[in-house]
Protein backbone atom coordinates (compact mmCIF):
# COMPACT_ATOMS: atom_id res chain seq x y z
CA UNK A 1 0.00 0.00 0.00
CA UNK A 2 1.44 3.35 -0.89
CA UNK A 3 0.69 5.21 2.25
CA UNK A 4 -0.51 5.01 5.74
CA UNK A 5 -3.06 7.48 6.81
CA UNK A 6 -4.42 7.41 10.24
CA UNK A 7 -7.04 10.06 9.97
CA UNK A 8 -10.30 8.20 9.94
CA UNK A 9 -12.83 9.10 7.31
CA UNK A 10 -15.76 9.68 9.61
CA UNK A 11 -14.10 11.89 12.18
CA UNK A 12 -12.06 14.45 10.35
CA UNK A 13 -9.58 16.23 12.53
CA UNK A 14 -11.32 15.31 15.75
CA UNK A 15 -8.78 16.32 18.31
CA UNK A 16 -7.51 19.15 16.22
CA UNK A 17 -10.78 20.99 16.58
CA UNK A 18 -10.44 20.54 20.30
CA UNK A 19 -7.22 22.40 20.47
CA UNK A 20 -7.33 24.74 17.54
CA UNK A 21 -8.97 28.00 18.12
CA UNK A 22 -10.90 29.10 21.12
CA UNK A 23 -14.13 28.79 19.21
CA UNK A 24 -14.14 25.06 19.89
CA UNK A 25 -14.19 25.63 23.60
CA UNK A 26 -17.42 27.55 23.59
CA UNK A 27 -19.76 24.98 22.18
CA UNK A 28 -22.98 24.76 24.19
CA UNK A 29 -22.36 21.30 25.63
CA UNK A 30 -18.88 22.29 26.69
CA UNK A 31 -20.21 25.31 28.50
CA UNK A 32 -22.74 23.08 30.22
CA UNK A 33 -20.06 20.62 31.27
CA UNK A 34 -17.83 23.38 32.52
CA UNK A 35 -20.71 24.80 34.56
CA UNK A 36 -21.43 21.44 36.13
CA UNK A 37 -17.78 21.01 36.98
CA UNK A 38 -17.62 24.48 38.49
CA UNK A 39 -20.74 23.85 40.53
CA UNK A 40 -19.32 20.62 41.88
CA UNK A 41 -16.08 22.37 42.71
CA UNK A 42 -17.92 25.18 44.48
CA UNK A 43 -19.97 22.69 46.48
CA UNK A 44 -16.81 20.89 47.54
CA UNK A 45 -15.14 24.07 48.63
CA UNK A 46 -18.20 25.25 50.48
CA UNK A 47 -19.29 22.10 52.25
CA UNK A 48 -16.09 20.30 53.01
CA UNK A 49 -13.41 20.86 55.59
CA UNK A 50 -10.35 22.50 54.12
CA UNK A 51 -9.03 24.07 57.30
CA UNK A 52 -5.99 21.79 57.28
CA UNK A 53 -4.78 23.07 53.95
CA UNK A 54 -2.76 26.17 54.98
CA UNK A 55 -0.85 24.36 57.69
CA UNK A 56 0.24 21.60 55.34
CA UNK A 57 0.88 23.71 52.28
CA UNK A 58 4.70 23.86 52.56
CA UNK A 59 4.89 20.12 53.02
CA UNK A 60 2.50 19.55 50.14
CA UNK A 61 4.74 21.67 47.95
CA UNK A 62 7.86 19.74 48.79
CA UNK A 63 5.93 16.49 48.37
CA UNK A 64 4.79 17.60 44.95
CA UNK A 65 8.39 18.46 44.13
CA UNK A 66 9.52 14.99 45.07
CA UNK A 67 6.72 13.42 43.03
CA UNK A 68 7.67 15.47 39.99
CA UNK A 69 11.35 14.68 40.32
CA UNK A 70 10.59 10.98 40.62
CA UNK A 71 8.21 11.10 37.69
CA UNK A 72 10.28 13.18 35.29
CA UNK A 73 13.57 11.48 36.07
CA UNK A 74 12.21 7.95 35.90
CA UNK A 75 10.26 8.61 32.69
CA UNK A 76 13.18 10.35 31.05
CA UNK A 77 15.84 7.84 31.95
CA UNK A 78 13.44 4.92 31.60
CA UNK A 79 12.51 5.96 28.09
CA UNK A 80 16.16 6.05 27.05
CA UNK A 81 16.40 2.45 28.16
CA UNK A 82 13.07 1.53 26.62
CA UNK A 83 14.25 2.30 23.10
CA UNK A 84 17.06 -0.25 23.00
CA UNK A 85 14.88 -2.69 24.91
CA UNK A 86 12.11 -2.45 22.33
CA UNK A 87 14.42 -2.36 19.36
CA UNK A 88 16.50 -5.29 20.52
CA UNK A 89 13.40 -7.42 20.73
CA UNK A 90 12.41 -6.57 17.17
CA UNK A 91 15.73 -6.42 15.39
CA UNK A 92 18.48 -7.42 17.76
CA UNK A 93 20.78 -10.43 17.52
CA UNK A 94 19.44 -13.30 19.57
CA UNK A 95 21.46 -12.82 22.78
CA UNK A 96 20.34 -9.22 23.05
CA UNK A 97 16.85 -10.15 22.07
CA UNK A 98 16.57 -12.76 24.78
CA UNK A 99 18.16 -10.59 27.38
CA UNK A 100 15.80 -7.71 26.79
CA UNK A 101 12.85 -10.04 26.55
CA UNK A 102 13.84 -11.60 29.85
CA UNK A 103 14.32 -8.23 31.49
CA UNK A 104 10.95 -6.92 30.37
CA UNK A 105 9.18 -10.09 31.36
CA UNK A 106 10.61 -10.29 34.85
CA UNK A 107 10.12 -6.62 35.63
CA UNK A 108 6.62 -6.47 34.24
CA UNK A 109 5.81 -9.76 35.83
CA UNK A 110 6.49 -8.78 39.41
CA UNK A 111 4.89 -6.07 41.49
CA UNK A 112 6.71 -2.76 41.62
CA UNK A 113 6.23 -2.73 45.37
CA UNK A 114 8.22 -5.90 45.65
CA UNK A 115 10.97 -4.55 43.41
CA UNK A 116 11.18 -1.41 45.44
CA UNK A 117 11.37 -3.38 48.60
CA UNK A 118 14.09 -5.58 47.19
CA UNK A 119 16.12 -2.59 46.10
CA UNK A 120 15.76 -0.73 49.36
CA UNK A 121 15.65 -3.37 52.07
CA UNK A 122 17.57 -6.00 50.14
CA UNK A 123 20.26 -4.20 48.17
CA UNK A 124 20.35 -1.20 50.47
CA UNK A 125 20.98 -3.09 53.67
CA UNK A 126 23.52 -5.22 51.84
CA UNK A 127 25.55 -2.10 51.17
CA UNK A 128 25.34 -1.20 54.82
CA UNK A 129 27.22 -4.34 55.76
CA UNK A 130 30.44 -3.26 54.05
CA UNK A 131 32.49 -0.78 56.07
CA UNK A 132 34.25 0.34 52.87
CA UNK A 133 30.96 1.54 51.50
CA UNK A 134 29.88 3.08 54.77
CA UNK A 135 33.06 5.08 54.89
CA UNK A 136 32.95 6.17 51.26
CA UNK A 137 31.61 9.40 49.84
CA UNK A 138 28.61 7.51 48.45
CA UNK A 139 27.20 6.52 51.82
CA UNK A 140 25.31 9.77 52.46
CA UNK A 141 23.43 9.02 49.23
CA UNK A 142 23.17 5.29 49.70
CA UNK A 143 21.65 5.64 53.14
CA UNK A 144 18.94 7.81 51.63
CA UNK A 145 15.83 6.16 50.30
CA UNK A 146 15.16 8.13 47.13
CA UNK A 147 17.95 6.62 44.99
CA UNK A 148 16.40 3.19 45.45
CA UNK A 149 12.95 4.52 44.67
CA UNK A 150 14.22 6.21 41.54
CA UNK A 151 16.02 3.09 40.36
CA UNK A 152 12.97 0.93 40.92
CA UNK A 153 10.67 3.37 39.13
CA UNK A 154 13.08 3.76 36.23
CA UNK A 155 13.53 0.05 35.76
CA UNK A 156 9.81 -0.47 35.83
CA UNK A 157 9.09 2.27 33.32
CA UNK A 158 11.82 1.05 31.00
CA UNK A 159 10.32 -2.42 30.97
CA UNK A 160 6.73 -1.35 30.38
CA UNK A 161 7.63 1.23 27.76
CA UNK A 162 10.08 -1.18 26.16
CA UNK A 163 7.17 -3.47 25.47
CA UNK A 164 5.19 -0.65 23.92
CA UNK A 165 8.12 0.41 21.76
CA UNK A 166 8.57 -3.17 20.62
CA UNK A 167 5.08 -3.13 19.20
CA UNK A 168 5.53 0.30 17.69
CA UNK A 169 8.76 -0.65 15.97
CA UNK A 170 7.27 -3.83 14.63
CA UNK A 171 4.27 -1.97 13.29
CA UNK A 172 6.05 0.41 10.92
CA UNK A 173 5.32 -0.77 7.36
CA UNK A 174 8.30 -2.52 5.83
CA UNK A 175 8.05 -0.54 2.60
CA UNK A 176 8.97 2.70 4.29
CA UNK A 177 12.07 1.18 5.80
CA UNK A 178 12.95 -0.43 2.51
CA UNK A 179 12.78 2.94 0.82
CA UNK A 180 15.21 4.30 3.38
CA UNK A 181 17.56 1.40 2.90
CA UNK A 182 17.33 1.59 -0.86
CA UNK A 183 18.71 5.10 -0.67
CA UNK A 184 21.76 3.92 1.16
CA UNK A 185 20.80 5.04 4.62
CA UNK A 186 22.83 3.26 7.23
CA UNK A 187 20.99 1.24 9.84
CA UNK A 188 21.47 4.03 12.34
CA UNK A 189 20.22 6.61 9.93
CA UNK A 190 17.24 4.54 8.89
CA UNK A 191 16.46 4.27 12.54
CA UNK A 192 16.83 7.94 13.33
CA UNK A 193 15.17 9.34 10.26
CA UNK A 194 12.36 6.91 9.57
CA UNK A 195 11.90 4.03 11.93
CA UNK A 196 12.09 5.86 15.21
CA UNK A 197 9.91 8.87 14.34
CA UNK A 198 7.27 6.62 12.84
CA UNK A 199 7.33 4.26 15.80
CA UNK A 200 7.27 7.10 18.27
CA UNK A 201 4.24 8.56 16.61
CA UNK A 202 2.51 5.24 16.88
CA UNK A 203 3.46 4.89 20.51
CA UNK A 204 2.36 8.38 21.50
CA UNK A 205 -1.27 7.66 22.36
CA UNK A 206 -0.09 4.89 24.64
CA UNK A 207 2.82 6.88 26.00
CA UNK A 208 0.52 9.37 27.70
CA UNK A 209 -1.19 6.49 29.44
CA UNK A 210 2.08 4.93 30.50
CA UNK A 211 3.35 8.18 31.95
CA UNK A 212 0.15 8.70 33.88
CA UNK A 213 0.39 5.16 35.17
CA UNK A 214 3.90 5.97 36.24
CA UNK A 215 2.61 9.07 38.01
CA UNK A 216 0.31 6.84 39.95
CA UNK A 217 3.10 4.42 40.73
CA UNK A 218 5.19 7.09 42.38
CA UNK A 219 3.26 6.85 45.69
CA UNK A 220 4.87 3.47 46.20
CA UNK A 221 8.08 5.27 47.09
CA UNK A 222 6.31 6.21 50.30
CA UNK A 223 6.67 2.59 51.39
CA UNK A 224 10.42 3.01 51.44
CA UNK A 225 10.18 6.29 53.37
CA UNK A 226 10.45 8.78 50.50
CA UNK A 227 8.12 11.65 51.23
CA UNK A 228 6.26 12.36 48.02
CA UNK A 229 2.94 14.10 47.59
CA UNK A 230 1.01 10.97 48.39
CA UNK A 231 2.94 10.46 51.60
CA UNK A 232 2.10 13.98 52.68
CA UNK A 233 -1.55 13.39 51.89
CA UNK A 234 -1.48 10.16 53.86
CA UNK A 235 0.02 12.06 56.71
CA UNK A 236 -2.77 14.63 56.49
CA UNK A 237 -5.37 11.92 56.47
CA UNK A 238 -3.88 10.17 59.40
CA UNK A 239 -3.55 13.20 61.55
CA UNK A 240 -6.86 14.87 60.66
CA UNK A 241 -8.81 11.70 60.04
CA UNK A 242 -10.65 13.39 57.24
CA UNK A 243 -11.55 10.67 54.78
CA UNK A 244 -12.25 12.43 51.55
CA UNK A 245 -10.92 15.96 51.54
CA UNK A 246 -7.20 15.17 51.34
CA UNK A 247 -7.91 12.54 48.70
CA UNK A 248 -9.93 14.99 46.67
CA UNK A 249 -7.08 17.42 46.88
CA UNK A 250 -4.74 14.70 45.63
CA UNK A 251 -7.14 13.93 42.81
CA UNK A 252 -7.20 17.58 41.82
CA UNK A 253 -3.42 17.74 41.65
CA UNK A 254 -3.14 14.51 39.70
CA UNK A 255 -5.89 15.69 37.38
CA UNK A 256 -4.01 18.87 36.58
CA UNK A 257 -0.79 16.98 35.97
CA UNK A 258 -2.29 14.34 33.76
CA UNK A 259 -4.52 16.82 31.97
CA UNK A 260 -1.49 18.89 31.06
CA UNK A 261 0.34 15.77 29.98
CA UNK A 262 -2.55 14.54 27.86
CA UNK A 263 -2.92 17.85 26.10
CA UNK A 264 0.81 18.11 25.47
CA UNK A 265 1.08 14.63 24.01
CA UNK A 266 -2.10 15.04 21.97
CA UNK A 267 -0.59 18.17 20.51
CA UNK A 268 2.56 16.27 19.59
CA UNK A 269 0.44 13.58 18.02
CA UNK A 270 -1.50 16.01 15.91
CA UNK A 271 1.44 18.04 14.78
CA UNK A 272 1.81 15.57 11.93
CA UNK A 273 -1.68 15.32 10.48
CA UNK A 274 -0.96 12.33 8.32
CA UNK A 275 1.51 10.38 10.38
CA UNK A 276 0.64 7.07 11.78
Amino acid sequence: MPDIDIATPLAPASAKTMLHGLRGFFLPHRIAMALIALAALAAMIAYMDWSWLPAYLPRLWSGLGMTMIMLVASVGIGFLFALPLGLAQVAGPWPLRWMSLGFCTVVRGTPLLLQMWLFYFGLGSLFAQFPEIRESWAWPYLRQAWPYGLIALTVSFAAYEGEVMRGAFAGVPAGELEAARAFGMSRGKTFRRVWFPRALHRALPTLAGEIILQLKSTPLVATITVTDLYAVITRVRQSTFLTYEPLLFLVAVYLCLSGALTIFLRWMENRIPSGG
Binding site: F121, S125, R143, A222, A231, T234, Q238, F241, T243
Partner: protein, 238 residues
Protein backbone atom coordinates in the same frame (compact mmCIF):
# COMPACT_ATOMS: atom_id res chain seq x y z
CA UNK B 1 -28.45 -10.76 71.15
CA UNK B 2 -27.36 -8.12 68.73
CA UNK B 3 -24.64 -8.71 66.18
CA UNK B 4 -21.78 -6.29 65.78
CA UNK B 5 -19.03 -6.23 63.24
CA UNK B 6 -15.79 -5.37 64.95
CA UNK B 7 -13.15 -3.90 62.69
CA UNK B 8 -9.49 -4.57 63.13
CA UNK B 9 -6.69 -3.66 60.80
CA UNK B 10 -6.03 -6.21 58.08
CA UNK B 11 -2.33 -5.65 58.64
CA UNK B 12 -1.29 -7.74 61.61
CA UNK B 13 -0.16 -6.02 64.79
CA UNK B 14 1.31 -8.66 67.03
CA UNK B 15 0.89 -9.41 69.82
CA UNK B 16 -2.45 -7.60 69.80
CA UNK B 17 -3.87 -9.29 66.73
CA UNK B 18 -2.46 -11.46 63.97
CA UNK B 19 -3.86 -14.11 61.64
CA UNK B 20 -2.66 -17.62 61.15
CA UNK B 21 -2.49 -19.15 57.70
CA UNK B 22 -6.12 -20.25 57.94
CA UNK B 23 -7.27 -16.68 58.39
CA UNK B 24 -8.05 -17.16 62.09
CA UNK B 25 -7.12 -14.16 64.15
CA UNK B 26 -5.64 -14.36 67.60
CA UNK B 27 -3.93 -12.05 70.05
CA UNK B 28 -4.57 -9.97 73.09
CA UNK B 29 -7.15 -7.70 71.48
CA UNK B 30 -9.00 -10.64 69.96
CA UNK B 31 -9.36 -12.12 73.45
CA UNK B 32 -10.41 -8.72 74.67
CA UNK B 33 -13.07 -8.44 71.99
CA UNK B 34 -14.54 -11.80 73.02
CA UNK B 35 -14.66 -10.79 76.64
CA UNK B 36 -16.15 -7.38 75.86
CA UNK B 37 -18.85 -8.77 73.62
CA UNK B 38 -19.84 -11.32 76.23
CA UNK B 39 -20.28 -8.55 78.73
CA UNK B 40 -22.45 -6.40 76.50
CA UNK B 41 -24.36 -9.51 75.49
CA UNK B 42 -23.65 -9.31 71.77
CA UNK B 43 -22.47 -11.50 68.93
CA UNK B 44 -19.30 -10.06 67.47
CA UNK B 45 -17.78 -10.80 64.09
CA UNK B 46 -14.13 -9.82 63.72
CA UNK B 47 -13.77 -8.07 60.39
CA UNK B 48 -10.33 -7.19 59.07
CA UNK B 49 -10.35 -3.88 57.21
CA UNK B 50 -7.40 -2.07 55.71
CA UNK B 51 -6.26 0.68 58.09
CA UNK B 52 -6.65 3.16 55.19
CA UNK B 53 -10.37 2.56 55.02
CA UNK B 54 -11.23 1.78 58.60
CA UNK B 55 -12.85 5.08 59.53
CA UNK B 56 -14.97 5.26 56.34
CA UNK B 57 -15.93 1.65 56.94
CA UNK B 58 -17.16 2.58 60.38
CA UNK B 59 -18.96 5.68 59.27
CA UNK B 60 -20.72 3.98 56.36
CA UNK B 61 -21.86 1.11 58.56
CA UNK B 62 -19.73 -1.66 57.11
CA UNK B 63 -18.41 -2.19 60.63
CA UNK B 64 -19.82 -1.11 63.96
CA UNK B 65 -16.79 -0.85 66.22
CA UNK B 66 -13.06 -0.48 65.88
CA UNK B 67 -11.06 -2.43 68.40
CA UNK B 68 -7.67 -2.27 66.76
CA UNK B 69 -5.20 -0.45 68.98
CA UNK B 70 -6.53 2.89 67.90
CA UNK B 71 -5.20 5.71 70.07
CA UNK B 72 -7.67 8.26 71.38
CA UNK B 73 -6.58 11.61 69.92
CA UNK B 74 -8.51 14.86 69.73
CA UNK B 75 -8.33 14.81 65.93
CA UNK B 76 -9.81 11.34 65.67
CA UNK B 77 -12.42 12.21 68.22
CA UNK B 78 -13.81 14.73 65.77
CA UNK B 79 -14.66 11.93 63.37
CA UNK B 80 -15.73 9.09 65.63
CA UNK B 81 -16.65 8.47 69.23
CA UNK B 82 -14.22 6.78 71.58
CA UNK B 83 -14.83 4.69 74.66
CA UNK B 84 -12.62 5.03 77.69
CA UNK B 85 -9.12 3.70 77.18
CA UNK B 86 -8.55 -0.03 77.51
CA UNK B 87 -4.79 0.04 77.33
CA UNK B 88 -2.01 2.59 77.23
CA UNK B 89 1.68 2.13 76.67
CA UNK B 90 4.51 4.64 76.67
CA UNK B 91 6.32 5.90 73.59
CA UNK B 92 10.05 5.26 73.68
CA UNK B 93 13.23 5.52 71.69
CA UNK B 94 15.49 2.69 70.62
CA UNK B 95 18.83 3.85 69.25
CA UNK B 96 22.04 2.50 67.81
CA UNK B 97 24.62 1.85 70.48
CA UNK B 98 27.09 3.89 68.44
CA UNK B 99 24.90 6.98 68.48
CA UNK B 100 24.19 9.27 71.39
CA UNK B 101 20.52 9.85 70.72
CA UNK B 102 18.38 10.69 73.74
CA UNK B 103 14.55 10.87 73.86
CA UNK B 104 14.45 14.66 73.97
CA UNK B 105 14.34 17.33 71.27
CA UNK B 106 17.96 18.25 71.93
CA UNK B 107 18.98 14.61 72.15
CA UNK B 108 17.94 13.83 68.56
CA UNK B 109 19.90 16.70 67.03
CA UNK B 110 21.42 15.65 63.69
CA UNK B 111 20.02 12.16 63.91
CA UNK B 112 18.12 10.11 61.33
CA UNK B 113 14.91 9.05 63.00
CA UNK B 114 12.42 6.40 62.00
CA UNK B 115 8.78 6.26 62.90
CA UNK B 116 5.70 4.43 61.76
CA UNK B 117 3.25 5.95 59.32
CA UNK B 118 -0.10 6.85 60.79
CA UNK B 119 0.94 6.23 64.36
CA UNK B 120 0.64 8.62 67.25
CA UNK B 121 4.43 8.43 67.47
CA UNK B 122 4.64 9.93 64.00
CA UNK B 123 2.62 12.88 65.20
CA UNK B 124 4.82 13.22 68.21
CA UNK B 125 8.01 13.11 66.17
CA UNK B 126 6.79 15.67 63.70
CA UNK B 127 5.78 17.98 66.51
CA UNK B 128 8.75 17.70 68.84
CA UNK B 129 11.67 16.12 66.98
CA UNK B 130 11.32 17.09 63.32
CA UNK B 131 13.07 20.43 63.65
CA UNK B 132 16.22 19.19 65.30
CA UNK B 133 16.54 15.78 63.61
CA UNK B 134 18.48 15.50 60.35
CA UNK B 135 15.71 13.51 58.72
CA UNK B 136 12.55 11.70 59.71
CA UNK B 137 11.79 8.56 57.78
CA UNK B 138 8.25 7.30 57.77
CA UNK B 139 7.91 3.51 57.60
CA UNK B 140 4.93 1.33 56.91
CA UNK B 141 5.63 -1.14 59.69
CA UNK B 142 7.61 -1.21 62.87
CA UNK B 143 9.52 -4.22 61.62
CA UNK B 144 10.91 -2.30 58.69
CA UNK B 145 12.03 0.50 60.95
CA UNK B 146 13.87 -1.86 63.22
CA UNK B 147 15.42 -3.60 60.26
CA UNK B 148 16.79 -0.33 58.91
CA UNK B 149 17.94 0.56 62.38
CA UNK B 150 20.00 -2.59 62.67
CA UNK B 151 21.36 -1.99 59.17
CA UNK B 152 22.55 1.39 60.40
CA UNK B 153 20.63 3.51 57.92
CA UNK B 154 18.81 5.34 60.68
CA UNK B 155 20.07 6.23 64.12
CA UNK B 156 16.99 5.74 66.22
CA UNK B 157 13.39 4.57 66.17
CA UNK B 158 10.57 6.30 67.99
CA UNK B 159 7.82 3.80 68.69
CA UNK B 160 5.57 1.99 71.08
CA UNK B 161 7.81 0.81 73.90
CA UNK B 162 5.88 -2.37 74.36
CA UNK B 163 5.94 -3.30 70.68
CA UNK B 164 9.68 -2.64 70.44
CA UNK B 165 10.53 -4.75 73.46
CA UNK B 166 10.81 -8.10 71.63
CA UNK B 167 13.33 -6.57 69.23
CA UNK B 168 15.45 -5.05 71.95
CA UNK B 169 15.54 -8.44 73.67
CA UNK B 170 16.45 -10.36 70.54
CA UNK B 171 20.02 -11.23 69.52
CA UNK B 172 20.04 -8.83 66.63
CA UNK B 173 18.65 -6.10 68.81
CA UNK B 174 21.11 -6.63 71.59
CA UNK B 175 24.00 -6.60 69.14
CA UNK B 176 23.28 -3.19 67.71
CA UNK B 177 20.85 -1.21 69.76
CA UNK B 178 19.46 -0.27 73.11
CA UNK B 179 16.39 1.32 74.65
CA UNK B 180 17.04 4.92 75.56
CA UNK B 181 13.87 5.53 77.55
CA UNK B 182 10.42 7.02 77.10
CA UNK B 183 9.70 10.44 75.64
CA UNK B 184 8.03 13.15 77.67
CA UNK B 185 4.29 12.53 77.49
CA UNK B 186 1.91 14.89 75.74
CA UNK B 187 -1.61 13.50 75.93
CA UNK B 188 -2.84 15.83 73.20
CA UNK B 189 -0.48 14.16 70.76
CA UNK B 190 0.15 10.72 72.15
CA UNK B 191 -3.47 10.42 73.09
CA UNK B 192 -5.11 9.16 76.17
CA UNK B 193 -4.57 5.51 75.61
CA UNK B 194 -6.30 3.17 73.21
CA UNK B 195 -10.07 3.08 73.00
CA UNK B 196 -12.94 1.44 71.18
CA UNK B 197 -14.05 3.50 68.18
CA UNK B 198 -17.75 3.85 67.38
CA UNK B 199 -20.00 6.00 65.29
CA UNK B 200 -20.84 9.22 66.99
CA UNK B 201 -24.54 8.37 67.09
CA UNK B 202 -23.98 5.06 68.91
CA UNK B 203 -24.39 6.61 72.35
CA UNK B 204 -26.20 3.64 73.83
CA UNK B 205 -23.50 1.24 72.71
CA UNK B 206 -20.84 3.61 74.02
CA UNK B 207 -22.31 3.54 77.49
CA UNK B 208 -22.49 -0.24 77.51
CA UNK B 209 -18.89 -0.57 76.26
CA UNK B 210 -17.58 1.84 78.85
CA UNK B 211 -19.31 -0.07 81.59
CA UNK B 212 -17.94 -3.35 80.29
CA UNK B 213 -14.35 -2.02 80.15
CA UNK B 214 -14.61 -0.80 83.69
CA UNK B 215 -15.94 -4.20 84.75
CA UNK B 216 -13.21 -6.13 82.99
CA UNK B 217 -10.58 -3.96 84.60
CA UNK B 218 -12.18 -4.06 88.01
CA UNK B 219 -12.87 -7.77 88.44
CA UNK B 220 -9.37 -8.98 87.51
CA UNK B 221 -10.33 -10.39 84.11
CA UNK B 222 -8.06 -7.79 82.56
CA UNK B 223 -5.07 -9.23 84.39
CA UNK B 224 -6.02 -12.73 83.34
CA UNK B 225 -6.23 -11.70 79.68
CA UNK B 226 -2.85 -9.95 79.78
CA UNK B 227 -0.63 -12.39 81.59
CA UNK B 228 -0.20 -14.85 78.68
CA UNK B 229 0.99 -12.00 76.48
CA UNK B 230 2.80 -9.54 78.67
CA UNK B 231 3.57 -11.35 81.91
CA UNK B 232 3.70 -8.99 84.81
CA UNK B 233 3.67 -5.78 82.83
CA UNK B 234 0.41 -3.91 83.25
CA UNK B 235 -0.48 -2.45 79.91
CA UNK B 236 -3.38 -0.40 81.22
CA UNK B 237 -1.05 2.40 82.29
CA UNK B 238 -1.95 4.74 85.13
Amino acid sequence: AETYKVGISAEPYPPFYQPDSQGNWSGWEIDFIKELCDRIDAECVVTPVAWEGIIPALNTGKIDMIIGSMGITPERAKQIAFSDKYYDTPTGVVALKTSDVQPTPEGVKGAYLGTQSGSIQENYVSQYFADSAADVRIYQTLDEELQDLSAGRIDAVVGDALAMQPFVDSDAGQACCEYRGAVENDPDVLGRGVGVGMRQDSTELLAKVNAAIADIRADGTYQKLSTPYFGDVDIFGE
